[in-house]
Symmetry: C2
Subunit: 337 residues, 2 copies
DNA sequence: ATGAAAGCGCTAACAG
DNA sequence: CTGTTAGCGCTTTCAT
């Protein structure tokens, strides 16, 4: 059972002074005599007094708590982002409530509600794959609670944003495949309702165009998880036997595809070259090590929360929003040649 | 700027009724007439009324929020645990505040304080590698806030616990190496101040003993991260050239060691067999796929939070604690033969 | 230098 | 069926 927690009232009673004096003494208000202050502080420590943040927050109408809505924590990219968020939050004295949507719209809505009810000072959001409706996010704006979208942003909701230049990264990846001599390059793509899906496809297309490759829609396979890759790669490669380059929308997909392709008896990179996107630790563990587009999750989280805290602490005009774009770079390893 | 949030007071004023009526109407209290109830609910929806959890929590002295203190989110094991925690929390109507200690004692202390101040209803803890002092955890007990330790438990603090049978898992791993004919088996160990470090070493030793292998302390290398493995493996293998089996305290270490050993020109598993611990996704991506001890992070998180919620919701006697032990199993892949 | 009192938003005992 | 009131723990005017 939750025991009675010591309050300033208790301290006041014991010391025979008023609660306002205790309150002031605890925060070293200059009005309070040094003796009283010390008395109060000593007793507080002795009684294991812990300020009640709920009461403070209610009074101040500020919680020093930030909400995060994220699709799935178990992806290295997202957990890096959270790590970045956490570290900065910690430095700046904020707490973080992390909610995962599990890529489910309904759950995202409930998450948003919970954060709203808890009066978080701001929210960081990466949109679920199954979200096509955005009113639950607009509620934050309605209440004047700043939002920053990161990675999976929401084109329909104006707000601050932190994104990777997905188009540019995809261009780099595809250009690299072209430059090493691939003739028929496939793209394993992320869902097109996500901006990242669109961007990565667009970069792929721009590179093809720039180097006078014809864009063949049948070479774009909607496939962005390890499971899907395991399911779809063999058939795809059989249908398109002369594909000699694959750019996948993320590392897990690239690696799983690579494993299937190898199992089919083809050599990577001699017969097929593969490029991923993300540069998680898997890229180094796969054999051969994966050429990939570096995507800095930790930094994305750090940037996003900095933007958010700035918004919270400085009353910037409500109509000024920034988008921070992180520039990815290509890391060439042995899965391409 | 945080805008004025609608309160029941606002609704009461507009409708010309008392705030208690509004409060009751909103929670469909039977006393209230259906018309008033509907009126209130409609207006509430129209005004985007969101209940203020702070006020409720202050009143009820219950926050429906659980705290988690975890070393590092970016490890697959821990993020799986969080995922399990989150899912159950969501089902049961709890919110979760996740704090990472980054393996730093100081930060763990601050995390604990923040959770205490926020009056969480309970906490889930996995201890940092650098923590040798546990008073910050005892504060929770002092305030009657239930704790559940998981994985990296704290022998000095009595409480509920969820652990993997590390000793048993390590035994299995080592026994397997013995059974396939390894003659000189090394252990790459986790820090011995952690129970998991002790347990895994103990299991290794028990297997050696049971099969009449002599325990050679110089075959135990304190090495439990990819970085350390990259740094130490080559030298260790040169010092102990006839080591033909390695049991590492986690997968990343096993895989990094494997890569170094391969780079040294030895074949895995023909010359050296390796077993990891954890069964993260890396185990499947490594080449050859890693034999490892399966450790169910998601389930550990789920079990831990169930235990915690049970404790919170049922006033069990303060002096009854359980320890839940998850039994790991060995998954044999191609890194051992 | 200290205290009294109001109020943050909500609930619940008590009264009608 | 509805309203009045007190109070959760804290801060902050306004007095003194």
């Amino acid at each position: 059972m939750k025991l009675h927690q010591v309050t300033i009232k208790d301290i006041a009673k014991i010391l025979g002074i008023s609660i306002s004096t205790v309150s002031r003494a605890l925060k070293s208000h200059p009005d309070i005599s040094i003796e009283t202050r010390n008395q109060v502080k000593e007793l507080a420590k002795k009684l294991n007094y812990e300020p009640n943040a709920l009461a403070m927050n209610l009074r101040r109408n500020k919680t020093n708590t930030l909400g995060v809505i994220i699709p799935e924590i178990v992806h290295h990219f997202f957990s890096s982002v959270i790590s970045g968020i956490e570290d900065i939050a910690y430095d700046r004295g904020y707490n973080v409530m992390v909610c995962q949507s599990n890529e489910l719209y309904d759950r995202e809505v409930i998450n948003a509600q919970a954060l709203l009810a808890n009066r978080v000072d701001g929210v960081l959001i990466s949109v679920s794959k199954t979200t096509f409706e955005f009113d639950h996010f607009r509620h934050f704006a309605n209440q004047g609670i700043p939002m920053v979208f990161f990675d999976r942003i929401c084109p329909d909701v104006i707000s601050d944003r932190v994104i990777t230049n997905d188009e540019g990264g995809a261009f780099l990846a595809t250009e690299h495949l072209i430059s090493i001599g691939c003739k028929k390059i496939a793209h394993f793509s992320a869902p097109q309702n996500l901006m990242i899906g669109q961007g990565r496809l667009a970069g792929y297309q721009r590179a093809l165009k720039q180097y006078q490759f014809e864009f063949d829609p049948s070479l774009v396979l909607q496939c962005d998880t390890r499971e899907l890759a395991i399911e779809k790669t063999e058939r795809f490669m059989n249908d398109n036997p002369d594909v000699d380059g694959v750019f996948a929308a993320n590392d897990s997909t690239a690696i799983a595809a690579m494993q299937i392709i190898q199992k089919m008896g083809k050599n990577v990179p001699d017969n097929v070259s593969l490029v991923g996107f993300g540069d998680g630790p898997n890229a180094l563990i796969a054999w051969p090590p994966l050429t990939t587009v570096e995507q800095k999750g930790y930094e994305m989280g750090a940037e996003a929360i900095k933007l958010l805290i700035h918004k919270i602490e400085n009353d910037t005009p409500t109509d000024s929003y920034q988008t921070k774009v992180l520039t990815p770079s290509l890391i060439i390893r042995e899965s391409t040649k």
